[in-house]
């Protein structure tokens, strides 16, 4: 049985469409440019838009559009992977806290409180200082950072649903806990959890961009939106698109999803 909690429907639909669009762009975007990512052309550095280079060139004379499309790929895919990680672990633990023995909830709750008492950027810095900046390390770090938040949301949702009558009826029918989780609780959590996925995705885009901007996120020769801004900071004096366009793309990405989640009013 599926019930609707709150008026999340249109809100999360729009966010899902937006995230799907960005994922598609991340997967297909780099195919649209014929330039090699590292190819240093004969163009001057920080040149403006031209027919050959639609967004001009960067601080080494490389094609900005090609690098931008690759940057979007890294930012979106890394953040999506870490969001999937944090939300699936968080949901699993949240449901476990509600359905398993009481000590599970006590333990996971305490752990989540502890993790939330460390600011996310600080936690990332600490972990990266030890494990380095490999792609896996970045995904896992961001995944761990946002797990407590996802856990809290899913626990609250699962608690609310587990108290509803149809769950009691299912229990009285003699259904197993596995059945109740898969057939009764999870389908009803899906909608509100997607809103949470959208939020975590934005948070991780912000965190990854900040890390890369600080020079401790995605490392060259790979490129993401934050590191593009970092390496082209000199271009600011010339108003170069190589520095300004990635800033705009980050803003459009995060503000867009935020507005989609926020627009139909009401808070979670």
């Amino acid at each position: 049985m599926i019930v609707r909690i709150g008026s999340f429907r249109s809100r999360h639909d729009r966010a899902v469409v937006l995230i799907a669009f960005w994922l598609l762009l991340a997967l297909l975007g780099p195919l649209c440019s014929s330039y090699d990512l590292g190819a240093i052309g004969s163009q001057p550095v920080f040149s403006g838009p031209s027919p050959a280079h639609l967004l001009g060139t960067d601080y080494l004379g490389r094609d900005t559009l090609a690098r931008l499309l690759n940057g979007i790929r890294h930012t979106v895919l890394l953040c999506f992977a870490s969001t999937v990680l944090s939300c699936s672990i968080g949901t699993f633990l949240g449901i476990a806290a509600v359905t398993a023995r009481p000590w599970v909830e006590a333990l996971t709750g305490r752990l989540a409180d502890g993790f939330l008492s460390i600011p996310s950027l600080l936690f990332a810095l600490l972990v990266i200082a030890v494990f380095g900046t490999s792609t896996t390390a970045l995904i896992v770090t961001m995944g761990v950072i946002y797990t407590p938040g996802a856990y809290r949301t899913s626990r609250a949702l699962a608690q609310r649903i587990a108290r509803l009558d149809f769950v009691t009826v299912a229990r009285a029918r003699g259904e197993s806990t596995t059945y109740i989780i898969l057939q009764e609780i999870l389908p009803n959590m899906a909608g509100p959890m997607i809103t949470d996925v959208g939020l975590r995705f934005i948070y991780s885009v912000l965190l990854l961009s900040n890390l890369s901007f600080l020079g401790i996120g995605v490392q060259p020769p790979e490129v993401d939106l934050g590191s593009m801004v970092r390496e082209n900071m000199l271009g600011m004096a010339y108003g170069s698109p190589a520095m300004i366009v990635p800033v705009i793309v980050i803003a459009v990405l995060t503000v867009g999803i935020n507005l989609a989640l926020d627009s139909s009013g009401g808070r979670r």
């Binding site: 810095l125 600080l214 980050i250 803003a251 995060t254």
Partner: protein, 318 residues
């Protein structure tokens, strides 16, 4: 004060102490799970096993994890954070003056952003659903959803590159007059204030709007209370708790902002030190900076919660 209140506050302090223990253990654990240890970094790959063993003994690395944790904790309690792996200097000495700079930056930004955001938040709650409220709401939503460095770089672009009003770097070392002080601090302070402002405005507005929708406000309106008296006497005293809570919670986001802002303006603060230490994997420095940050954060969140507890009407009536 009544017993109930003391109990609540005591419980909050206990929770803060638990978190503190968690933070200290986590910082130690994360920095000690590496397969190799400091000797690899210090001696390089060509080190003989004897040299490694001697060094491990000197650094106390041959003892068990618990013993090392105990000595590390003992050092922290005496403000001894060990020596930097990079230059061998005391980490505590490196942090001291930089912490002062960071606190100055954070304090100045808070002094700007708190009054401004209180004003914006309260007024947009009063004039809810007007054009003014919409504009404030959209602007702050936009600012919440871009990374901190974007706001800082836009500020640099506008004020330093386009208008040539201010230097793009914070030259704190050569401050001798008020003019120099303003020109060195204006940009970092303004950017950091903007970063924290957005969230504070949104939370203040939510708290104030919540209070204004309460039945007793409608009652006061119906019995003919004027608008100014309604806000100052009826609404604000009841909204003060949630608002102070919102402000303190947003101030803790100052910490994340301060890292980025210091790097953008090459401001000589503690986060610049930490970011450099992270890139060079200077673990003792990272540990010390992380602890300073986490303790500050813990202090702010605990403070926010205690203010909320104190502002509960149930607690105020003895």
């Amino acid at each position: 004060m009544n017993r109930h209140l003391v109990l609540l506050i005591g419980r909050r302090f206990l929770a803060a102490a638990t978190s503190l223990v968690f933070v200290v253990v986590t910082v130690f654990a994360i920095t000690n799970v590496l397969p190799g240890d400091a000797t690899d970094a210090l001696l390089g790959q060509g080190a003989t096993p004897q040299a490694v063993a001697a060094m491990r003994h000197n650094l106390g690395l041959d003892r068990s994890v618990f013993v090392r944790f105990w000595f590390w904790l003992w050092g922290i309690l005496h403000a001894e954070f060990g020596n930097s792996l990079l230059n061998g200097l005391s980490v505590a000495d490196a942090i001291g003056p930089r912490l002062h700079n960071s606190l100055l930056l954070a304090g100045a930004s808070a002094a700007v952003s708190v009054p401004v955001s209180l004003f914006l938040g309260v007024t947009s709650a009063i004039w809810k659903d007007t054009v003014y409220d919409r504009v404030v709401s959209i602007l702050t939503l936009g600012m919440v959803s871009v990374p901190e460095f974007v706001i800082a770089t836009i500020a640099v672009y506008v004020f330093a590159v386009r208008l040539h009003l201010l230097p793009a770097l914070a030259d704190v070392g050569s401050v001798h007059s008020l003019r120099q002080f303003l020109s060195a601090f204006f940009m970092p302070v303004a950017s950091l204030a903007l970063v924290t402002l957005a969230q504070m405005v949104r939370m203040t507005r939510a708290a104030m709007a919540d209070t204004l929708s309460a039945p007793y406000i409608e009652m006061a309106l119906l019995k003919g209370v004027g608008p100014i008296r309604l806000i100052l006497v009826h609404a604000i005293p009841n909204a003060i708790g949630p608002i102070v809570n919102a402000v303190a919670l947003s101030l803790s986001s100052l910490l994340g902002g301060v890292v980025v802002i210091e790097v953008v303006f090459t401001y000589p603060g503690i986060s610049g030190l930490m970011v450099d230490a992270v890139s060079s994997r200077d673990v003792p420095t990272v540990q010390a900076c992380a602890l300073v940050f986490c303790v500050t954060y813990l202090f702010l969140t605990t403070f926010a919660d205690i203010v909320t507890i104190l502002s509960l009407p149930r607690g105020r009536k003895t």
